[in-house]
């Protein structure tokens, strides 16, 4: 089955600034895909190219097999998007905004609008002018716009921006339920690594306009798994660990070694140490967080 | 004998001619008599003027006349532009105090007419007067104004104009004015043709003098 999002050699140059440099990316149906990177990495530019706001300098971006720039309407027919802070007509009500924006390019019923508003918890304030909305309410209105009409792909740029912790949790739960219940594909750009770790099934990390790491969250974290090993004597333990194929020491602190196993199992590590007469007092698996992975990747880039 | 015969023949030949040649004053008197039966009239007037500097399209007004020379115009559509000149009332008005000299008889607008030369009135002009009806059918003034008149018999008695066509040639007029007075800077409205159509005459029905009093402007 063809990927829902396919970016191939995607490049964007703004005069002397190369914002996106040969980016390759695919997103499959049903995934909740996280797009991570520092400020200025090219996330927003990539997202804008995905929805046709910016024309690629080179390469192409396809949604549902359609080139976004050449077949804009067909490509975005089943897509809902919220790019950066959602902007609405302040002098119109929330409901009117949804009606006008959604009906530009498609048709929706009053019931569908109400459903979307209800989903994001704005039904009671639907007839109030947007200028009376808080930042969080506008954010939710943007999400409502993105999910009206049962799209198959939703692109969200910082969806929890401006929300309180309760609101953040609600949005996270919403995204998970949309993905699970409606088999929605979600492409999510966020700075909140903890949030991405909870929601996303697959991620890409981008820096300086290029993808530097991509994969499922579980695989990436597993690859980053380490073991805290308490063993003595320390010197002998260190020497023994270094002698094990596939094992490396990330850090050492007071007889505790942070060991990374590229191959082999912790049981084999333990047996190896014990066979060499080294006393192992503790062998604790430590799963890395996404933040640790991310920071490590950024360090490697420097 | 022969000489006497020649004199008699000559007198016989000339006499009819001398006896049939009208005098200008007599023609004017006949015109005055023709109009004398009209004490007052009211008529609808439609004015159309076409020129390079003016364009009036079918302007409707009502004209009131009462002897000897009272004229009043009412605008039917808010405003009326009344052409200067003797278009209403006594057609002899502009010929008053003029000396008329009979020139010849000729046909004009299908009518046998006396041709008069008028000097001393408002401006020297040539006038064609219908022999039978004693009404002026055309005028050609040296002030640049040429007019042609059509008539109808109103109430079976009065010959009154139904249409007057005026041809204003201001260059001619301006030239003559400036010849008389080099400082004359009179307006230049360009060559202009005006048509006045009279209808719905009500003759000798009585008109109150108050109509002719000028109303104060608000």
């Amino acid at each position: 089955m063809e990927p829902i999002i396919a970016a191939s050699n995607l490049t964007k140059r703004f005069r002397r600034v190369l914002a996106v440099d040969g980016l390759d990316l695919t997103v499959e149906r049903g995934e909740v895909f996280g797009f991570l990177g520092p400020n200025g990495a090219g996330k927003s530019t990539t997202l804008r190219m995905m929805v046709g706001l910016i024309k690629p300098s080179r390469g192409k971006i396809q949604l549902f097999g359609r080139d976004v720039w050449r077949e804009h309407c067909q490509a975005l027919r089943k897509v809902g998007a919220m790019i950066e802070s959602p902007a609405f007509y302040k002098y119109l009500s929330g409901r009117d905004n949804l009606r006008i924006f959604y009906n530009t390019g498609a048709n929706c019923t009053v019931r569908q609008i109400d459903e979307a508003l209800d989903t994001v918890g704005l039904l009671k304030r639907a007839n109030d002018k947007v200028k009376s909305y808080s930042q969080g309410m506008r954010q939710r209105l943007g999400i409502a716009l993105a999910i009206i009409g049962s799209p198959e792909l939703v692109l969200l740029d910082e969806p929890t921006n401006g929300l309180d912790p309760q609101g953040m949790k609600e949005v996270r739960d919403l995204i998970i339920s949309l993905s699970r219940d409606r088999n929605l594909t979600v492409f999510l750009s966020s700075h909140l690594l903890h949030e991405v770790e909870q929601i996303c099934t697959r991620i890409a990390v981008v820096n300086k306009g290029r993808v530097i790491e991509t994969g499922s969250v579980s695989d990436l974290l597993k690859r980053s798994e380490t073991y805290d090993v308490h063993a003595h004597p320390s010197e002998a333990a260190a020497e023994a660990i270094r002698g094990i194929p596939g094992a490396s020491i990330d850090a050492t602190l007071d007889g505790m070694f942070k060991v990374k196993l590229a191959s082999g199992t912790p049981a084999e590590l333990n047996k190896c140490l014990v066979d060499k007469g080294i006393a192992v007092s503790a062998l604790i698996p430590r799963v890395a967080s996404l933040e640790e992975l991310y920071l490590r990747l950024m360090d490697e880039q420097c | 004998m022969k000489r006497l015969l020649l004199v008699v023949v000559g007198v016989l030949l000339i006499a009819p001619a001398i006896a049939g040649t009208p005098k200008g004053d007599q023609i004017l008197a006949a015109m005055r008599k023709q109009f004398s039966a009209v004490n007052d009239y009211r008529a609808d007037l439609s004015l159309t003027v076409k020129g390079s500097k003016v364009s009036i399209n079918n302007m409707q007004m009502t004209v009131y006349y009462k002897k000897p020379n009272k004229i009043h115009v009412d605008a039917k559509q808010g405003v009326a532009m009344v052409p200067s000149g003797n278009y209403f009332g006594d057609p002899l008005g502009q010929m008053a105090n003029a000396k008329a000299a009979y020139l010849r008889t000729e046909e004009k607008v299908g009518r046998p007419c006396y041709v008069l030369k008028l000097i001393g009135g408002q401006a020297p002009m040539t006038a064609w007067v219908d022999k039978e009806r004693s009404v002026v059918v055309a005028m050609d003034g040296e002030d640049g104004l040429k007019t042609a008149w059509r008539y109808a018999r109103i109430d079976g008695k009065y010959y009154l104009p139904t249409e007057i066509r005026a041809d204003i040639r201001p260059a001619l007029a301006a030239g003559r004015r400036r010849h008389a007075d080099p400082d004359d800077q009179g307006p230049d409205i360009g060559p202009t043709k005006a048509t006045l159509k009279f209808s719905n005459y009500k003759v000798n029905k009585g008109i109150d003098d108050t109509i002719f009093q000028e109303k104060k402007r608000k």
Partner: protein, 285 residues
């Protein structure tokens, strides 16, 4: 497309600044009415007729006259140069740049909407707004004149190029006023297109308004300089006053068609350039 136009008009008429132009038209009409009512127009008219082989009876001041004053007279030409186009530019300069500034352009363009039809809907909305202004000006002048002065035929003067004193019966006056509104619409649309183009290029509504006004003034000045006379027929500012030609007799259709052609070429050309810029534009705001 119809739905998009409806949305654009809905958004346009929800903004208070859209009503500035109508307010100005109303204000002008009230001033004109006061001037006609208390300004002894009958005496002025009579004096103007002096020595012209005609005398004046009655008053030319009526609803038709008042409507002509604001569309076909010298006052009308001032309104056409400084008034109507300015208010059209307020709307046309803002209709695009305003969306960019607010960020709503971004929100719209992530929808499956064709950029060309989206922009064309804005163009058509601007054109429709430009039509309502001279119509509002003329109709309110007529109605106010009807209340205070009644109705009748129209006495009008011509233009500087064709000075003429004309009078038309009421029926002819009404269709000439309608024609004048149509012609004024053409001129106002062209100026509005200048603002639309500049707003699409600069993404700034105030800049678009200022630049469009400046272009209009510059063209008017250039057209008035004798040395530039050969190009004067090709400047759109030269044809902004074709509304006055509706009151000449006979109507100089050849001149009007020539003027409309020039304005049409400018309007279409400006629209196409603006559209081309917009279609390739990166939306960064």
């Amino acid at each position: 497309m119809l739905r998009q136009i409806r949305f654009e008009l809905y958004k346009m008429y929800r903004k208070p600044r859209t009503y500035l132009g109508y307010g100005c038209c109303l204000f002008i009409n009230i001033c004109v009415m006061l001037g006609l009512r208390y300004g002894h127009m009958e005496q002025i008219s009579t004096d103007a007729m002096h020595g012209s082989s005609f005398g004046l009876v009655g008053s030319p001041v009526n609803a038709e006259f008042m409507a002509w004053m604001v569309t076909g007279s010298t006052i009308g030409s001032m309104i056409m140069l400084m008034g109507l186009p300015f208010y059209v530019c307020i709307v046309s300069g803002e209709i695009f740049a305003g969306e960019v500034a607010e960020g709503t352009l971004r929100t719209v363009l992530v929808r499956p909407v064709n950029r060309a039809s989206f922009f064309t809907a804005k163009f058509i909305s601007t054109v429709l707004y430009a039509a309502t202004l001279p119509l509002f000006l003329c109709v309110t002048a007529f109605l106010i004149g009807l209340v205070f002065f009644g109705h009748g035929g129209l006495m009008a003067t011509g233009t500087l190029e064709h000075p003429v004193l004309a009078w038309y019966p009421e029926s002819a006056a009404l269709w000439r006023l309608g024609l004048s509104c149509l012609l004024i619409w053409a001129g106002a649309t062209t100026v509005g297109m200048v603002a639309l183009l500049i707003s699409g290029w600069l993404n700034n509504s105030l800049g678009a308004l200022g630049a469009a006004t400046m272009v209009l003034f510059a063209m008017s000045v250039i057209g008035a300089i004798p040395w530039f006379k050969p190009i004067s027929p090709y400047l759109f500012s030269t044809h902004l006053y074709i509304g006055q030609k509706a009151f000449l007799d006979p109507i100089p259709w050849a001149e009007i068609w020539s003027g409309l052609r020039c304005l049409g070429v400018y309007s279409l050309g400006l629209f196409l350039v603006a559209l081309a810029i917009f279609r390739r534009k990166d939306v960064l705001a």
